[in-house]
Subunit: 334 residues, 2 copies
Amino acid sequence: MTPSVRRSFVVAASLFTLAGAPLGAQGTPLASWNDGPTKRAIMTFVRATTDRSSAQYVAPDDRIATFDNDGTLWVEHPLYTQAVFALDRVGALAPQHPDWKTTEPFKSVLERDETAIAKFTEADWEKIVAATHSGMTVEAFNDIAADWLARATDKRFKRHYTELVYQPMLELLAYLRQNGYKTYIVTGGGQDFVRAFASRVYGVPREQVVGTASKTKFTIGESGKPELIKAPDILYVDDKTGKPEGIHLVIGRRPRAAFGNSDGDEEMLQWTQAGGGARLMLLVHHDDAQREYAYGPDTKVGTFSNELMDVATKGGWTVVSMKKDWRRIFPFDP
Amino acid sequence: MTPSVRRSFVVAASLFTLAGAPLGAQGTPLASWNDGPTKRAIMTFVRATTDRSSAQYVAPDDRIATFDNDGTLWVEHPLYTQAVFALDRVGALAPQHPDWKTTEPFKSVLERDETAIAKFTEADWEKIVAATHSGMTVEAFNDIAADWLARATDKRFKRHYTELVYQPMLELLAYLRQNGYKTYIVTGGGQDFVRAFASRVYGVPREQVVGTASKTKFTIGESGKPELIKAPDILYVDDKTGKPEGIHLVIGRRPRAAFGNSDGDEEMLQWTQAGGGARLMLLVHHDDAQREYAYGPDTKVGTFSNELMDVATKGGWTVVSMKKDWRRIFPFDP
């Protein structure tokens, strides 16, 4: 967990478009999943809920599957991608805010003081997010995020962040959709940030992204044109109890299947399971330091506590071992 | 605008299911619309945005149409249906609240004091809605609303409220969907109240209803089961500027077509139009006292002000005359 402020001067390269790949290429469903109880649990659930002769058959309208994003669909270590984006934006916006040179938490960001950044509190991060994610139209923010994602790269893998998505999960999204499931992202990250790439990368349209949302303000702009401006205030935080609450707000149905990887996903999976009947609750466990990362209770980024493991065991939830269950991690893996 | 508290003891009759009717029966699109400039404006817009050879062609993903509910899809006079529901619920819940006999605004409701009710302020209504729309699980509220809608009837038409929907608008919903448009309801009314009937009555699924939303609270219930409880606090009001804001929150795309009937819809239509290209902005004008109601600037329920008419004229918006443009008003009309 060594956060780093980086500025990418890489010229925007043509981007690897992932969303289509697993859909078209997939002769065998879940090809990057090793055979075993995990893959079997997924396929048994899908068959039970889509076979018309099954006692657990679910009508297409109620086939809702919700996916956490950070650590479930893409890499979240050493630091959430959106946090890296926010730190970069502090650098980009600094010329308009001369006071940041002497005001924390901006001062530490501009000085690239990684030790100080690693100690940032929730309140520090809220200030950074508010300063970098508001004051522009919703369309302008979308362009800023998309442009950054097209340029920035991860230090370890030397890849764009949108390439650091898990191939087995892309196949799982595709497999569920092929079976009539509507796939949603339900993320503690910013709804508008994830909307900027979810369609291209995951095949999930903008209206199927539920996330932490800031307020917006409808106003008549200088040109006399109506605009929606992103405000610094948070409307709701889509994490922990906020996940089932956000699901009710935007979807209005209880998921049949829910996928996560950390303590922030516990309530979403609990609420899913409480609906009764055939339900799939799955957690990705990061136990592969060689191919990706290994972490659990010992990190602030994507904590998978011992308590969560107990809840998963007692509830009969499926826990994915990246090491054992995934043949391939990334789409670019051989 | 004479609100009335009523209690229906009518045994739940099998309900007229409307959603399917306009889809199946519709040989000619918009059959209940008279020929003329209004119908032509709708059809021209749809052709321009769906014909691949058109310069104004819109990709299917961006075909978003948003409909106000009260006064646009169903009758809102003499009082919003949800307000009638709330007043009825005060009666039903009164035994659990002995203090309501002496506390306003509940006292006036229980005494069926129509003069007092007609003078209720926004704050009075907020108290009534908070008291009747919270404290139960989201599923329980859905059942309460659905059960009430199956029993309650309108005084003038002697019909269930869900029968008092506009046949031409049902056909418009169906016509847009047949042309690849995703139809959403964007209502100042309660999101959870409208979700209780939107699928059956309008063919609009729960996840495509955007409305005024209360907060919910995730909690572990007495049985040890996770529950989502409706809280009395409002998360956001989906009216006026709240409509484009709610659209961004839940849909994340700007509509191509927006339909309303009152001052509360102005900003939604403005924001739609500001997207440029082919857009359809349409307002229903209630000018048919004989078949339905006639009202404009002179009502508190669904006000269509002279200012709104000016904005519509200047913007080139389509204004529907119920009297001239609609051959039939209700599905049960001959």
